[in-house]
Subunit: 156 residues, 2 copies
């Protein structure tokens, strides 16, 4: 394999100060993006249903806990803004996993709930949920796993 372009040139040296050089690979935002990519990939192959995404899963889990929620409140509970939530809910409704009815007490709201099929599916997926987390955290030992979850909780 020609690899002329593979390592043509080393990165330019950092500035001459004693300060730590700025490497994109060591920045928190970059690492979070990569870690999130990996976690999503593991979810996809481990959760046991290729048609369910992480956000759809967390939405369904929340709807399984609270039996009925407005779209906006569900969004706050799972950390999605209303525009994003709109698309997630639309797709779940199109597949018959989620149902909706107008809130009888507030005409602005739509109450969402899982259909019987949605309940059946989320209960099946919940069996694999722990395996997804276990696989994602596999490179770390027990203490490190707890540390990471703790530190991430603090910055969220």
């Amino acid at each position: 394999m020609r690899n002329v372009a593979r390592k043509q040139q080393e990165p330019k040296a950092s500035s001459g100060t004693l300060a730590r050089p700025y490497r994109i690979e060591e920045q928190i935002g970059y690492l979070l993006r990569r870690a999130h990519q990996r976690a999503s990939a593991i979810f996809q192959v481990t959760i046991g249903d290729p048609n369910i995404t992480p956000t759809q899963y967390s939405s369904m889990v929340k709807l399984n806990e609270y039996r009925e929620l407005s779209q906006n409140l569900l969004g706050r509970l799972v950390g999605m803004d209303k525009a994003t939530m709109q698309g997630v809910v639309r797709r779940l409704k199109e597949r018959g996993l989620v149902d909706s009815r107008p809130d009888p007490g507030d005409a602005r709201r739509t109450l969402l709930s899982l259909t019987t099929e949605g309940q059946r599916i989320v209960n099946r997926l919940l069996l694999n949920g722990p395996a997804v987390s276990r696989e994602t955290l596999k490179p770390l030992n027990g203490a490190e796993q707890r540390q990471l979850l703790d530190l991430l909780s603090k910055i969220v």
Copy 2:
């Protein structure tokens, strides 16, 4: 404010075992998604140019280190697959920040480089890069910041 729908019902109790209950808010994938969202939001308001996204920034930083890179190799260096890279590069080229030429030694490849304008911009953004990371890690003390970066590096 009516809050009938706000806390209608507590989440159902977990199963009766001693095992830790499965809470979506404690799962690594969920936390990574939320943390990444927050980091992106901080990037957007701190980097100093509302038109530059995190992925565009890391691509430009890499192109500033290596003077010329194929699109595919750049993607591997910044952790984006080729389909995603295609869009990022297209937008940077449309704005005149990146230029391309055919690789004289390999007709499959396109060599990318920063334009003078692109270099000017990335050097300005690099001044704010440390502030983005500092702000994102602000809830943690120094030791915790290093731990988090270390743990994330291990699972990426």
